[in-house]
């Protein structure tokens, strides 16, 4: 599973970071990016799914590979 944060859509709510700090980082302005180039380590898929489902800006998507 691979995910991506659209930096143009992200407004810094930081929901993804608080739900899944293993998968996301945020800068001082709160803008999020996916760690590890978006590759979700095995076992963390449910957390990635929750981050996607809680983003108020619909900024996180699954990258089709």
């Amino acid at each position: 599973m691979r995910i991506c944060v659209d930096a143009d859509k992200c407004e810094g709510h930081n929901r993804c970071y608080s739900l899944a700090p293993e998968l996301f980082e945020v800068d001082d302005l709160g803008i999020a990016s996916a760690l590890n180039d978006g590759h979700v380590p095995a076992g963390l898929e449910a957390k990635a799914d929750l981050a996607i489902a809680n983003c108020p800006e619909f900024a996180i998507t699954i990258v089709e590979e």
Binding site: E11, H13, N14, Y17, S18, D28, L50, A53, P56
Partner: protein, 417 residues
Amino acid sequence: MSDRDPSDMSPREGCPVHDWATDFDVMDEGYIKDPAPVWEELRDKCPIAHTTRWGGAWLPTKYDDVREMARAAPTLSNRSPGVIPPAPEMRELLIAEVKEFGSELPPISADPPEHKPYKQLILPLFSPKAVEEYRAFTENLANELIDKHIASGKMDAAVDYAQQIPPRVIAYIIGIDPGRADDFTDWTRGIIELGQTDPEARMKYRRLIRDFFQEMIEERRDNPRDDAISKLMAAEINGEKLSDYSVIGVCFLLLVAGIDTTWSSIGSALWHFGTHEDDRKRLYAEPEILPTAVEELLRYYSPVVMARRVLDPIKFGEADMVPGEKVIMNFPAANRDPDVFDRPDEVVLDRERNRHIAFGVGIHRCAGSNLARMEMDVALRVWFNRIGEFEVTDPDAVRWTGGQVRGVRTAPMRIKA
């Protein structure tokens, strides 16, 4: 600023509402107490309602509509974000000031491109990392408040607890004396509660706050401190220092937005637990669900609505909006939309999929959302740790405030260590 024309003053303000679709009143007593039935009716009948009360406004009630409108900057402008527009004399003053100095309360009252640099100045104060630095201060404060009342066996969760925390935390962050918290709270209520419908109060408290921050600037002019005011005074936008007017505007915003909102959220959350035994027992038994519960309480008791001003003609659904009209960003109603949330009118403490928009969406997302969440987390955690049993003594004695910010203003409780 284009605010209400004096001739627009509706003679019906204060009269009962017969048709919420065409004549809603956000200051109606029943609506303030429980707006959800009105939203439910409107979603089916007229999802973007209209009124001529309070200078005239549109009221969306569907999640997708609210999101779309919140993201329609600057056609829907933030230049006058108050739900109830200022009276004519204040409107004149604001127009003159904004012409000379720029946005009144940046970034909340600013549109692109003026908005972004101001938002970027304040966001670092409220990043997840920054707010963790205020956690210990907040925890001490919450514990002290409980120390003060626990032996008496009773405490007003709104007045003695919820109301006391945010003004001290935001004062600490801005760099002003937390010991003056009662003043800051009075001023904020003067603007956000009293000032909505009392033009003289609005003017008076605005003056008090602006004069106070002018004084704070003078104290720091030659002796900068390690605080937000000094940082704002040293900051530059497009290579230029901020004017005193703008520094004061930002500080004014931080103070007012930092107080009423979070106080309302903490108060509503404790009121909920004080009146819902099942949820209270559940949080005692499963403290690990607190972060999810905080999000659910934010959704269900969303305290804040903001307004936009129509600059150019725009159409949403059946609503033909014309320049000068107000649009109420009804985030609380969006968060009860059954098309988005299962069982929207129930508090489900472990609701894991919760894309609520209590802090708004788009460029005007609440800059202090991480701070508010931290304060709610600490306030509830300390309360549940220190207090073994509690309940609201008289559920009918609860008083809600509404308009711009909805929250519990009094919630007397029996408490036991």
